[in-house]
Structure formats: C-alpha cells, structure tokens
Amino acid sequence: MANKILTIKNLTKTYGNNIVFQNIDLSINEGDTVVIIGPSGTGKSTLLRCINLLTKPNGGQIWLDDEEITSKEVNEDNVRQHIGMVFQNFLLFNHLTALENVKLGLVKVKKMDKTAAEAKTFQELERVGLVDRAHHFPGQLSGGQQQRVAIARALAMDPRIMLFDEPTSALDPELIGEVLEVMRKLSLAGMTMLVVTHEMGFAREVADRIVFMEKGSIVEEGSPEDLFNRPKFQRTREFLWKITELYGKKE
C-alpha cells in the first residue's frame, strides 16, 4: 500500500463569520499528483496556505508523513522547508538573480556551504531549463521563466510535497505551456504534487486524482476519467462544462 504523504482531517477555516471551508478531508499518496478544481472564492488558495502553515486553520488536523504539523509543538519554519509552494504571481525575490533566488534557501535554511549550494542550484535550474538565465534578475525574465525559477527555488529544498496555486493563471497564453511542461515532468519523476489549476488539459493528462471543491467543501473526487466522463453530481458536470468553455478552447 502506498505511503500517505499528506493527510487532512476535518479541516475548517473561518474569517470572522465567513466560513471559507468546513470539514475538509483529503489525503495524498506518495508520488501522486492531485488537482483541485473549483470556482473562485471556494477556498482553494486558503486550503493550500493552511497546509503550508501560512494561515492557521480554526479546526482539524494536518499530517505530513507521520508528523502532525497542526500541533502546537511543531516548528513551523522547519515544516515549511519540507513543503514547496508555487504562487500564482511567482513571488521571486526581486533583488536577487535567478541563481540567488534558488541558492538562498540552501545557504540560509539548509546551511549548505556555498559550493555545494551552487552546484545544487544549477542542477535545479537545469531541471527547469534555465541555466542560461542564472544571472538574470526577475525583472529581466518573462513570466513563464519567473515561474520556472520559482519552481526550481521550491524544488531546491527537496520538499516532500509541492503545492501549486494556479501557477499559470497570471501568464500570457503562449507562456503557459512551458510551465505546465515542467510540472508534467516533475509529476512523471515521482514528485508528490497538489495543484490548484483551471488547466483542464493538464488535469486530465497528469492528475492521478481530481478534487472538485465548491463553496468550501469537497463535492466529489475521483480519477480524471471518472470526473470528466461520469461525474456523480450535476454541479461537477456544470463546472467542468463552464471551465472547458472558458479555458479549453484550444484543446
């Protein structure tokens, strides 16, 4: 039986009276790619932020491997090191080159020595195909290139799981492909991934499982095959229709 990397039980998050999501259960096996889809404002980003401990949930528990990371005794910085996060708007460190962006965590968080860190940095930049852009600053890179550096930066920390929050929604259409390609390879290489995206082509092809969230709860989940061809709920069917209309014209 496959190893569970991430287990979420009964997770609830509220802002004041606004319930963002309630009683979310989700688990992810080692090496799997799980795609979350759902309308805007459903709490997908908030869920990822809770997993990464950037936001505190109001109830429920999260385990990374066997460690309960929502427990009070846990060292948050240490946990985040093992969870890679890729943001919609890239969030590269503006004052650092691509190389320095990737290297900084290795030197300051992992305390690697400079030469080893640099070697590892080039390895990661190689993975995303950007060795030739190593000395460029974020402002000198295209959106697609920035996002690939951001992926390399997260990968450099050797995370147990990678979280992607709409990694291609801020990109011009012609740049989306290069980022999805990097993610596809990563998934094939066995990385455990949780991806929020509207890219249905990617979800269909790469996901082991698709989770449909709406209004703060998980409506249904299953293999791409099941969700696209035999959705259990009308809501799922309608959403998939709408999203394919909006984003999937080219496919």
Partner: protein
C-alpha cells in the same frame, strides 16, 4: 585679519559639523531601523507606542528637544556637549528615519515575506535577507533628504557651545563686525556638504538599483 584666515577660522568648524553628523545620522539610522522593524512586525501594542513616539518627536522643534535631551543626559551620565548634542540629534532623527524605513518596508510587497517563509526561512531571516535589502534601496531617496536635514540641524549644537561652523561664524562676526561675510561663508560650507552628500547618495542609489525591477 585677512580674508583667508577669516574663512579658515569658520571652516575649521567643519570637523565638528561632520563629527556631529557622523554620530547623529548612523545612530539615528540604527535606532530608526530597529524601531521601524518593531513598528511593522512587533504587534499592535508596540505599533501604538511607536506611533506616539513618532508624533511627539516630530511635533517638537529639534532645538527644544535638543535642550531637553541634553539636560537629561548631562544630568545622568557625564557627557561632553559634543557627544550629548550628537546623540540627541541622533535620537531626534531616529523618529524621522523610523517613518522613512517603515514606509519603505510597507511598500515592499507582502508576498516577498510569504515567499521567504514558504522556503522555510524564519521571520527574522526573511526580514534580514529579503525585506530589508529591498527596503533600504527604496529608502535611499527619502533618506538622503533626512541626511540633508541632519547636516543642517547639526548647527543646533552651537547652542551647547560646540565650536562648529555656525558657532564660529557667530564668534568671528561679533569680533570683526562682518556678519554678512561670516554667515555667507557658513552658508556656503553647509550647502557644499549637503550637495556632496546628496550626490554621493544618488550614486549609491544608482549603483544598487535592481535591474529591470517592475
């Protein structure tokens, strides 16, 4: 007294003016920097207290504060007028520098901090390696303004008897009956110092500019 000796007499106060500035500006910077970080990241209570600190310090004429701080200091620790005056000016400047740096911190996008935390950095590391390097670059232009103010305000220590430019101009104007020449000389020296500092800082700003930063 010939004109050269006249000017030399006033200009020799420049050492004190520079001395006061070199104590006041950096001490104001270090204090202002620490206070700005506490203001932004230290929670509501700290922010409330520092907002009062800022309002009070900036709402009183520097010369009045200088006297108050000077008398507090000379009453408790035995400091020379030079040191007491310089440190007082540094404390006064810290309130202004705190506001400059706070503004710059707030204009660095919050996403930068989040991205730093996301790779496992502690808040302190994120502040040090991600937020501050960007903040300080942004702060150079307004800081250059504050540097000019501190250079000019260094003249206030004349009131404590420190023989800097203004004090000397005043003395020599009284003894030679040449106030116009005396104060014009002083004015030119101050102006030169401010111009020089601003040019230097503009160069620094250009050198540190991040390429193609959006």
């Amino acid at each position: 007294m010939d004109i050269i000796r006249f000017i030399q007499y006033i200009a020799s106060g420049t050492a004190y003016t520079l001395g006061v500035t070199f104590v006041a500006l950096p001490s104001g910077l270090i204090l202002g920097l620490i206070l700005a970080i506490i203001y932004v990241y230290g929670g509501k209570i700290a922010a409330r207290i520092l907002s009062v600190y800022s309002t009070v310090m900036r709402g009183i004429p520097p010369i009045v504060l200088l006297f108050i701080l000077y008398f507090i200091m000379s009453g408790t620790i035995n400091l020379s007028p030079f040191w007491a005056g310089s440190i007082s000016l540094g404390v006064i400047s810290s309130a202004y520098q705190m506001e400059i740096i706070r503004g710059a911190i707030l204009s660095v996008s919050g996403g930068q901090m989040i991205a730093a935390l996301a790779i496992g950095m502690s808040r302190l590391q994120a502040i040090r390696y991600i937020v501050l390097p960007q903040t300080l670059r942004l702060a150079i232009p307004p800081w250059s303004n504050e540097a000019a103010i501190v250079i000019k305000d260094s003249s206030l220590v004349y009131a404590l008897g420190v023989p800097e430019i203004l004090r000397r101009a005043q003395l020599i104007s009284a003894s030679t009956q040449q106030p116009f020449l005396a104060y014009t000389t002083a004015a030119l020296i101050y102006f030169g110092l401010v111009l020089f500092t601003n040019t230097l800082l503009r160069r620094l700003e250009n050198r540190l500019r991040i390429p193609a930063n959006p």
